[in-house]
């Protein structure tokens, strides 16, 4: 009797495996790679201005005063256009936003800002994605909350939607 039952073990194992595989196939895959730098210090960097008329960005610009947003974006990035009004809304709430433009040309940045508005106090040009890689960002757009001590406190992946504005304001308030 015991031997009979044992014969079913491989089939049961196979059914279990097939069940797990089938279940996992129906689950939505999380495509986002989250930064492991939350809670870490913003690394040292100094980026030249991405466009004439706006200062570039360095690490020390993030230190002191109040928490700020670091927005990773690019003029060639389509979701960044959708995000522009929400950044504008955050700026209207008194949030200081520093941008880092990934692999971008000054004339393209200027063109983007004149078409979709400029919510940025500074924009650094990251021509080889070095700051993006140094803070664990894996795409555009992404937005980081940086506290006044220069520590990375929160990461928002993807474009900021209307309902994300309140969320980001809350995260900024939390680290004040």
């Amino acid at each position: 009797m015991r031997v009979r039952l044992m014969r079913w073990v491989p089939l049961a194992l196979f059914a279990f495996f097939a069940g797990v595989a089938g279940y996992m196939l129906t689950q939505e895959k999380n495509q986002f790679v989250e930064s492991a730098m939350i809670g870490e210090q913003l690394p040292e960097f100094a980026l030249k201005p991405a466009s004439a008329g706006l200062p570039g960005a360095t690490r020390s610009d993030f230190v002191g005063g109040k928490p700020r947003l670091l927005n990773i974006w690019a003029s060639w990035c389509l979701p960044c256009i959708a995000e522009a009004p929400q950044l504008e809304a955050l700026k209207a709430q008194g949030v200081e936003i520093f941008g880092i433009a990934i692999r971008d040309r000054p004339e393209d940045v200027a063109n983007f800002l004149s078409r979709y508005g400029n919510p940025y106090a500074r924009i650094g040009a990251d021509d080889i994605s070095e700051v993006q890689l140094a803070i664990g960002s894996s795409g555009v757009p992404e937005t980081f909350v940086i506290d006044a001590a220069g520590t990375i406190r929160y990461q928002h992946i993807g474009d900021i939607r209307e309902d994300d504005v309140a969320l980001l304001l809350a995260e900024l308030e939390k680290v004040k």
Partner: protein, 147 residues
């Protein structure tokens, strides 16, 4: 109808272009290091690092601009004297284990390494018991198999 179809196909082709930058690649994205030994080190490392944009490819396989920028990081850091292990650790500190194709034993991955060993041990135990029984059966003469 045909015009609509052509427009539709053209629109499909235009989208990926619109989402690409036009900047030249980073200096070491497509240029090898002068020292063959250093280049070999870099190449071996790049083959085991995940492209974050195109997540099923290594950065050595991918033509995504971001993969090029990651290759530039790898090559310029090797050139600066960093070891491949340091560079891998630097990336893991930023993106987690996910960025590395080189499997390590950690709190979440140890079953992957332990289960095969365990299965082999179980199979060995079962086989030994069965073979042992059979031999006992043979020794006892005409008692026959239990199975």
């Amino acid at each position: 109808m045909i015009r609509a179809l052509v427009l539709f196909i053209a629109a499909l082709m235009a989208l990926p272009l619109a989402a690409q930058d036009t900047m030249p690649p980073a200096p070491y994205a497509y240029n090898q290091l002068d020292d063959p030994a250093q280049e070999a080190e870099a190449a071996a490392l790049m083959a085991t690092l995940r492209c974050l944009k195109c997540q099923s490819q290594s950065i050595a396989d991918s033509d995504a601009p971001m993969a090029g920028d990651m290759r530039h990081q790898v090559r310029s850091r090797i050139l600066a004297g960093e070891s491949p292990d340091d560079i891998r650790a630097w990336l893991i500190a930023r993106y987690g284990d996910y960025v590395s194709y080189n499997p390590t034993i950690s709190a979440s991955t140890w079953p992957l390494f332990a289960i095969p060993v365990l299965l082999i041990l179980i199979v060995a135990a079962v086989l030994l018991r069965r073979l042992g029984k059979r031999r006992e059966g043979d020794a006892a003469g005409d008692e026959g198999d239990a199975a």
